[in-house]
Symmetry: C2
Subunit: 351 residues, 2 copies
């Protein structure tokens, strides 16, 4: 497990890479939206309608058939049907920058009127002027300051309300869609398909757990108590005579890489039988899941579609995928090719 300090640095380094290099090693994104497939049509098209009938879909359906066949050699009773999904790049888009980072930058702008000094003070000045190189000039210290100011210093109830409000209106810089519409329709169907087959679905993300929980139930059907992520320390205390949980400017847990099996153990207490990721940050979760006894499913979403989404893997700073690609075959993990295996990427636009 990385030390808390190392974990914090790791998060910051990733953020720095994201801010500093605009989609380095990433093909140009398409802005076209998904064809307007109606939800009724989806249902009629049967299981996983947005998946082409290729090897990835077949392997998923075969795995589910095996573990749900009562009396069969691979049967798994429903309580043990635990499936874990990475978030950024697996359930929703993570380009050109992590959505949570977009939130942090917007939050600086929203808070600026209360902080006139930010006009002269880096890293805030850089954010307000859109000069990200200046922001990054401050290094880790500046980024830690940005994250602390935008994510902590308030109560859990206040932060939840801030996130809800932002998510309801913020739009992706390129597609102009709501971020909650930048989710992957085939993965939403996969979540529902697994639940319909007795699975309990969890999100296990390197992102902040309190940034996801306010809206995952509505968007993915995953309730807050089934969302695992990185977290800030919180402190119980009183404010205006009422108990509150204050969000402190300190990292409590980094749910990434080897942190994912740990986060899974902390929150779930049993080993998943299926895991879904897209980057080497998910390697240990996939490894932990698929080396258990009995039938197991590991799947990597491979970003191959520069037309409908983005194409990136080994050389990308966001969602780096190298070891996963190298070892998937030997480990029996499915690599889902977004371009080849998905009929649509995003859900139909809401009108």
């Amino acid at each position: 497990m990385p030390s808390r300090r190392a974990g914090w640095r790791c998060l910051l380094a990733a953020s720095a890479a994201v801010l500093f290099t605009t989609a380095c090693g990433v093909s140009a994104p398409g802005t076209q939206s998904a064809p307007p497939v109606s939800r009724a049509a989806d249902a009629a098209a049967g299981e996983l309608p947005s998946w082409n009938d290729t090897a990835a879909r077949k392997a998923i359906v075969e795995f589910v058939r095996k573990v749900t066949t009562a009396g069969g050699p691979d049967f798994v009773p429903p309580p043990a049907r635990i499936a874990t999904f990475d978030h950024d790049g697996t359930l929703w888009a993570e380009q050109p920058i992590y959505t949570q980072l977009a939130f942090a930058l917007d939050r600086v702008k929203a808070l600026a009127p209360q902080h006139p000094e930010w006009k002269r003070l880096q890293p805030f000045k850089g954010v307000l002027e859109g000069d990200l190189k200046a922001v990054l000039g401050g290094g880790e210290k500046a980024l830690a300051e940005l994250l602390a100011v935008t994510h902590t210093g308030n109560t859990t109830v206040e932060f939840e309300s801030i996130v809800r409000e932002w998510v309801a209106s913020a739009r992706h810089p390129q597609t102009k869609r709501l971020y909650t519409e930048m989710v992957y329709q085939p993965m939403i169907e996969l979540l529902a398909y697994l639940r319909a087959n007795g699975f309990k679905t969890f999100i296990v993300s390197g992102g902040g757990v309190d940034f996801m929980r306010p809206w995952t139930e509505q968007v993915y059907g995953v309730p807050p108590e089934q969302v695992i992520g990185s977290r800030a320390k919180v402190q119980y205390g009183m404010k205006d005579g009422m108990p509150v949980l204050m969000r402190l400017p300190a990292v409590d847990f980094v749910d990434d890489k080897a942190g994912k099996p740990i986060g899974i153990h902390q929150a779930i207490g049993r080993r998943p039988i299926a895991a879904f990721g897209n980057s080497d940050g998910d390697f240990e979760m996939l490894e932990w899941t698929t080396t258990g006894a009995g039938a197991r499913l590991g799947l990597i979403v491979h970003h191959t579609d520069a037309e409908r989404e983005w194409a990136y893997d080994r050389s990308s700073h966001i969602g780096t995928l190298a070891r996963g690609l190298d070892e998937a075959s030997a480990r029996g993990w499915i690599v889902a090719d977004m371009k080849r295996d998905w009929k649509v990427v995003y859900p139909p636009e809401k009108r």
Copy 2:
């Protein structure tokens, strides 16, 4: 939030108190078992059959009626019907020593053949000879050593199997029943009653989460992912070529007192609407739960029955209850009197 070191000390101090004073301030326990009420008869007797028709039962039923009445002013949609239960002293007996401590002492005896030096080495010598005063002579350092040796240094899978085995055969020193039969029948009915009314039930205990999870689903109907507790640090690594989570001799989180709302936030991410405890270690959980908006239920199990269980509160080292008793009325918390409000304490003995 207590510091990690303070939390560890607090756990140790409690353990020390438990080891050192045999049920100080505690009335003599009865050893008679519950009357053999059949489960079929229970079902026929309707909701909460083991609760007398007193104010406590009425308040529970009225609360559930309010939050489940669609269109009513206090209606709560099912996903928000979160109920949290303390464990020791709320769902099962905690006298004359915490069951987890009995496990630790038994574990020293089980490991002794591999450690011949323990015959001469405190605190192990004291445990093996039943000389608990000698054990306690070593102070915190000795207790930390005991806990580390008995709870860590193995993988999560190994520890789970050790707990399963112990729980299947270890018996309470006075009643000679399995510890998993030293559970409170009225509370088991309450868990089931809430679930039947759309609640999701969680255990939120100061005890070790990995000591509870192997058996809570079978005994309480609460799956591992709905059990929150104190935890050791774990580390992801390889052992004999396979990934493991190693249990390290270091405390990661103490889920007691102000730690309970924090543990609830970490694991559930929303505020319970009902909470159940028995000691001042549950005060903050009850406070956090019942100061939220809308209908709320807080209930304290008061150990008043020296005949069928134990009678203790203010002056007991285990399950100290003072502030809770003082403030319950003003805060609208129900105090369930075990002697007055419960028809039976334990489930019928299995034959």
